[in-house]
């Protein structure tokens, strides 16, 4: 390495060279360093030439062909290691490969902010360089996630900013692409490229057509800009003079004549578009109808010889005079009139000389082209939201952040429904501002969200009472509904509407946060699941209550208290609604976790999505025991039966069904295949949603009487069992009715069954006013299949309601006389029939 004593080195540069020197010494010739000098054109920079042995890297198809030793120049900034060095080559052999900018600059870091470790300095840098060479040789330089960018110093911010939104055209192998870019003028300095028109295509004839072609709103200001895409890679480094650029383009047969002609044709077309009917004021002949941005594309991306290359774009802002010269050229040299040809040549000659003297003003370019950019959220669950139609109910502490997350994720359409107004109290934790006070939350939020990505996401407000406004929406057009209302009424309405809808609903996610915003719940009802939000939350409550380890006790208190909380926070004295406390940090964090969880679940394959609830808790201080981490509960679908009497859904949990089947199988084995059996059902009837929840089933009590044609449900132990279950479930699950089987025959009530429905609901003591009678049955093959494989039997369900007057006597619990002499079995776990024992006479509770 050259003695660098004569160089002015900063402390950082000295460190860099020392580290480099150590690497060279330790690498036995595999890394060599030679020349160290001040960098021309980069004040303060020091360059060091190093060469790296690459002899071990096999040559691959599609990989870069490396020399056995590769030399590069490191440019070490004065503020090393707080700025990463950069690296360039003298040759242009790597031009066109991914992560090579401008033919010579190797791009080692996508983001130095996260990838460059100042502490690791040159060690990390050289490793990164080795990574680059290895990937290059293997042809594994992936496509850059970030757009290529020119050295910032060389772009001229006063020249304006272009955001490229549409995939760019590519040249044919033997012919450059000529045409125009459709520009949407967003503000004074910024234009978005929203479309491309090839010269041979028909061009829009009116501003309306132009906007329509680019899907722009009616008030958008749009115009055309000349654009060329070359067939060959240009290795110039952002030429500072137009002459260099023009020379480089001429090698691709893009002569000044063509450039001027194209500029003129586009300028003419802009005039036609923007001043229809030739109403351009005569004195504005010198003023262009639109700024002249010349877009220049080169086939710079992709690996040489490997598949199609993508277009790298730069834009050159030309003075207004270009508009005039261009139009002159177009009107003479390209007029097709021979008498103007000579004048045309003069104009071209004049224009070329003018171009030659022009400095280049490179515009800043921000890439938003799908073909060259990768969304930052592409590998996250939020990617599911892209292009989706989303309904968000509620625009409060949960709804507002949830809606924003959907908008940022690129949902195509978002509807936000809320009827509330912004008032001062909510600003502490909801994303509204002082100026919004008194306005509808939904409207204010939608205005803001519409500004996030107007080219992708359209957001609509639905102001009004959600429960009534919902009927005006076709919910089936949505992909996902977020219920962020934390409102039982909304939940019940949704459950009922979902249940009674003939077509399946979209996914429904019901979000809740606890009273102090320390816990959150998200209940997911995927499309086609048997239960909606109210159902899944009820399951959650049941699971929380019945969990023997008590890990959910905090949830019970927060979300499913058996006693209503007594200390309710009243933020605004006199206000009748109790509400919640918690900070913006709390609610936003909970919303984020819940949304991420739900999206994870939705990203699963359709056949693996189940009803599920995510439980999250906020962290506490470092000296306090931390709450448990996120936890999912999941449930398979219920078996659905429609109640004959009410039309309600009877939702039989897999657990209840399994219990019934176990008892039926045991009966078939012990008592014979045709002996009926049955037992008690636990659950609840929800008249608001029209759902009868069958949570559990039990077998026949020991004093039951089981025969082939008759099943009498006993009472021994039933009362105690019900009490125990009520206690265990926080009274969520209680006596619901009785089930029995009709082995090998239809699941239809007999006359005896009908009579039993009346008896069951007789107004005696604590007897229920309503009870579900559930009959499982079915023809022989079906029945045997259920016992063997679990494939459901036929069910008959009837919610019997009390009809008998108050004074009705209970029926005699006799075995119906018409049955004649039968073999009967007791319930419980008896394994022998009772032939000679009289039928028990216990008819009422003992």
């Amino acid at each position: 390495m050259k003695d660098s004593a004569t160089l002015e080195l900063t402390e950082g540069q000295q460190l860099a060279l020392d580290q480099l020197h150590r690497i060279v010494q330790a690498s036995h010739g595999a890394v060599a360093a030679t020349h160290v000098a001040a960098t021309a054109n980069r004040p303060g920079y020091v360059e060091a030439r190093i060469s790296v042995g690459c002899a071990n890297l096999p040559r691959t198809e599609g990989g870069l062909r490396l020399r056995s030793v590769e030399a590069v120049t490191l440019l070490i900034p004065p503020d090393f290691p707080f700025r990463a060095p950069s690296v360039r080559t003298r040759h242009t052999r790597f031009a066109g490969a991914p992560h090579v900018n401008w033919g010579r600059h190797l791009c080692l870091y996508r983001s130095t902010a996260t990838e460059w470790d100042p502490a690791d300095g040159m060690y990390g840098f050289v490793n990164r360089l080795l990574d680059w060479f290895e990937a290059a040789a293997a042809g594994e330089l992936d496509r850059p996630g970030d757009p290529l960018h020119p050295p910032n110093a060389l772009t001229d911010h006063t020249a304006g900013l272009l955001v490229i939104r549409r995939d760019a055209p590519v040249a044919l192998p033997d012919r450059s692409w000529l045409g125009a870019a459709v520009l949407h003028q967003v503000n004074e300095t910024r234009c978005d490229v929203v479309g491309w028109l090839a010269i041979e295509d028909p061009w829009p004839a009116s501003p309306e057509q132009l906007r329509e072609s680019a899907a722009l709103p009616a008030d958008a200001h749009a115009f055309l800009a000349p654009a060329v895409v070359t067939t060959k890679h240009l290795t110039f480094e952002y030429p500072l003079t137009a002459r260099e650029l023009v020379d480089a383009l001429a090698r691709d047969h893009l002569t000044p004549r063509l450039l001027l002609g194209l500029t003129g044709i586009v300028a003419d077309h802009n005039r036609t578009l923007l001043h229809p009917g030739g109403d351009a004021p005569a004195d504005e002949e010198d003023t262009p109808a639109a700024p002249v941005h010349l877009l220049l594309g080169t086939p710079s991306r992709g690996i040489a010889g490997d598949g199609p290359r993508q277009t790298h774009l730069v834009a050159w802002h030309l003075p207004d005079f270009a508009d005039r010269v261009g139009r002159l050229a177009a009107d003479t040299a390209f007029s097709g009139r021979p008498q103007l040809a000579e004048l045309g040549d003069e104009v071209i000659q004049f224009g070329t000389e003018w171009l030659d003297r022009l400095p280049t003003r490179w515009m800043r370019i921000y890439e938003a082209r799908p073909e060259v950019t990768v969304r930052r959220d592409h590998a996250t669950p939020a990617a599911w939201l892209r292009g989706k139609r989303i309904l968000v109910l509620g625009a409060g502490a949960l709804g507002a952040p949830v809606a924003e997350m959907c908008a940022r994720a690129g949902a195509a359409h978002l509807t936000v429904a809320d009827q509330a107004l912004v008032h001062p109290g909510i600003l502490a934790r909801q994303p509204y501002t002082d100026a919004d006070i008194g306005h509808f939350k939904a409207s204010v939020l939608v205005d803001r969200l519409n500004r996030i990505d107007p080219h992708t996401t359209r957001v609509e407000a639905l102001v009004g009472d959600i429960t009534t406004r919902l009927s005006g929406l076709d919910l089936h057009t949505f992909d996902l509904i977020w219920d962020c209302t934390a409102n039982r009424i909304v939940r019940a309405r949704l459950e009922r509407a979902r249940r009674t809808d003939a077509a399946p609903w979209p996914h429904l996610a019901t979000l809740m946060i606890g009273h102090h915003a320390t816990r959150g719940l998200a209940a997911l009802s995927p499309r086609g699941a048997t239960g909606g939000g109210a159902d899944v939350l009820r399951r959650t409550a049941l699971a929380a209550h019945t969990d023997a380890t008590h890990v959910f006790d905090d949830l019970i208190e927060d979300f499913f208290p058996t006693q209503p909380p007594t200390e309710l926070f009243q933020p605004e004295p006199g206000c009748s609604d109790t509400t919640f406390t918690g900070s913006a940090a709390d609610v936003t964090a909970l919303a984020g976790q819940l949304v991420a969880g739900i999206l994870h679940a939705l990203a699963a394959p359709a056949d693996r999505r189940t009803m599920a609830t995510l439980i999250v808790r906020m962290p506490v201080g470092p000296t306090v025991a931390q709450p448990a981490g996120p936890r999912w509960l999941t449930w398979p679908d219920d078996t659905l039966v429609t109640d004959e009497a009410t039309g309600y859904d009877v939702r039989i949990t897999p657990a209840a069904l399994a219990e019934m089947r176990a008892e039926a199988r045991r009966g078939a084995r012990v008592r014979g295949p045709r002996v009926e059996t049955g037992g008690t059902l636990l659950g609840v009837v929800d008249d608001a949603t029209g759902v009868i929840f069958v949570d559990e089933a039990t077998g026949p009590p020991p004093d039951s009487l089981l025969t082939e044609a008759y099943f009498r449900h006993g009472l021994d132990g039933v009362s105690n069992h019900l009490a125990a279950r009520r206690e265990a479930t926080g009274n969520l699950s209680r006596f619901l009715g009785m089930w029995h089987t009709h082995p090998h025959t239809a699941a239809q009530p007999s006359a005896t069954d009908r009579a039993a429905m009346t008896s069951l609901t007789l107004p005696l003591d604590d007897a229920p006013a309503r009870a579900l009678v559930l009959i499982a049955g079915g023809p022989g093959p079906l029945w045997r299949k259920w016992l063997a494989t679990g494939d459901g039997p036929d069910f008959y369900a009837h919610l019997a309601a009390r009809t008998a007057p108050a004074a009705t006597e209970p029926p005699a619990p006799e075995v119906p006389a018409h049955l004649g002499p039968v073999t009967w079995w007791p319930g419980g776990y008896a394994i022998r029939p009772h032939r000679s024992v009289p039928v028990p006479r216990k008819g009422s509770r003992s």
């Binding site: 010739g29 595999a30 020349h35 060469s51 052999r93």
Partner: protein
């Protein structure tokens, strides 16, 4: 990596201490040797140098099935470090088809300048060939391979010597290319453009009358490799060469991919006395060299390893020169005495890769290829075999074997070691107040 592909054309720079010995493989049976320094004769203390003749004798093609054939031997000038061992070469079984010589030796003989034994043998051989050629011409025949000679350059005293009677076709003057070797027209794969000796320098120091050549090797696909041989020329003559070619619009003749640094990496190539009589760096020649260098150009120092610092009066190689060359190329100067290591040098082999140009072939790569290519014919075998020559030093190196491969894995290991990832104390260390 074992690839059996090795190009047919290339060049081998032998580790012969501070001296030149270069073998250019043209493909087919054609091999050109520029200068010679054979280890057996070199007798340089503790220098690890190659027994070039023995190796050539073993490996040169044998078109007739028994005689090793060297198409051309070119001598840049008659210094010992460029022709040492020529006598042995003559006595070996090798047939030298044609000899390229400058008129300088005749002048030196007539001026009775001191000349080494090998230079004398060379001069005698050239004179024999001049006579044989004249005889053949008299007989109306082409001179036979083995009798051919080409005189390169002009000397004012030529009329006093027999070679002056040779017809023009046996002469080449500066500014002209040579495209035949030993009577075979090879312009599709080889051209040697003569830059020097200049007529005006014919009476100067011997070094200043060195033959200077730009050799171009061409592949079938149009890839060209450019080698620049500047003998032992110093700044003024080199400057003249570049100036001429620039002003005569033939800059393609001074372009270079590989430069054999003049005079074994002597600082005289770019340092010369300024107006004040002090030696100064001549940036102009460096700028010219850089302007005509390929982006991947490399400089060879055919010399013993570099010393740690230059002392006044040191012979080449000079660190000053190395630093100067490294300021104009991206790659380190490649010293034949240090490649791949001082302890165990190997010939430096550049192969002409289609589509890429002259490419340094890694030693381990050559070793692998050498095995595979033993059976192959032509230039491939030659490059591989010559490149894997081991020298006596290797025999007494305890851990003789494959040199380290210079790959990214070795570089990575270097980074790791430099960073101290796996550092641990190597010896027991005592502490205490005592």
């Amino acid at each position: 990596m074992v690839e059996t592909e090795l190009p047919e054309q290339g060049v081998v720079f032998w580790p012969v201490g501070t001296g030149d010995s270069t073998t250019i493989v043209l493909g087919g049976d054609l091999v050109v040797q520029v200068d010679l320094r054979d280890m057996k004769a070199a007798d340089e203390d503790d220098a690890v140098v190659a027994a070039v003749i023995d190796r050539l004798e073993e490996t040169l093609p044998q078109p007739d099935g028994k005689t090793p054939y060297l198409a051309v031997f070119a001598l840049t000038h008659a210094d010992k470090d460029h022709c040492c061992g020529f006598g042995d070469l003559l006595e070996s079984s090798i047939l030298i088809g044609e000899i390229w010589a400058t008129p300088r030796l005749w002048r030196e003989l007539s001026e009775d300048k001191p000349m080494c034994e090998d230079a004398r043998r060379f001069q005698e051989e050239v004179e024999r060939r001049v006579d044989a050629t004249l005889q053949a011409i008299k007989d109306g025949k082409e001179p036979a391979s083995g009798d051919r000679v080409r005189i390169i350059g002009y000397d004012e005293d030529r009329e006093g010597h027999s070679y002056a009677q040779l017809p023009d076709e046996y002469f080449t003057f500066p500014g002209k290319p040579i495209t035949t070797v030993d009577g075979v027209e090879v312009s599709d794969k080889f051209e040697a453009f003569v830059h020097a000796p200049f007529k005006d320098d014919c009476a100067g120091d011997r070094n200043d009358t060195s033959l200077a050549l730009q050799v171009q090797l061409h592949t079938d696909d149009g890839t060209t490799g450019r080698l620049l041989f500047l003998g032992d020329l110093a700044y003024p003559t080199i400057k003249k060469i570049f100036g001429y070619s620039e002003s005569h619009d033939r800059t393609d003749r001074i372009e270079w991919d590989v430069l054999l640094s003049p005079h074994h990496c002597s600082k005289k190539a770019m340092y010369a006395k300024g107006e004040d009589g002090e030696e100064e760096l001549k940036q102009d020649i460096l700028d010219q060299l850089e302007a005509h260098a390929n982006a991947d150009a490399r400089v060879i120092s055919s010399s013993r390893p570099f010393r740690d610092k230059d002392d006044k009066g040191n012979d080449p190689p000079h660190l000053l020169a190395r630093t100067a060359y490294e300021s104009i190329t991206d790659y380190p100067v490649l010293c034949t005495g240090e490649y791949p290591s001082k302890e165990e040098p190997r010939p430096v082999v550049f192969a002409l890769e289609p589509g890429l140009g002259l490419e340094l072939v890694d030693v381990t790569d050559l070793e692998n290829k050498g095995q595979v290519l033993k059976a192959a014919g032509g230039g491939r075998r030659l490059l591989a075999t010559l490149g894997t020559t081991r020298f006596p030093a290797a025999a007494f190196t305890a851990a003789a074997g494959l040199p380290h491969q210079r790959g990214t894995d070795a570089a990575r290991a270097g980074v790791q070691q430099a960073r101290g990832d796996k550092a641990e104390p190597a010896v027991q260390i005592g502490f205490g107040a005592a």
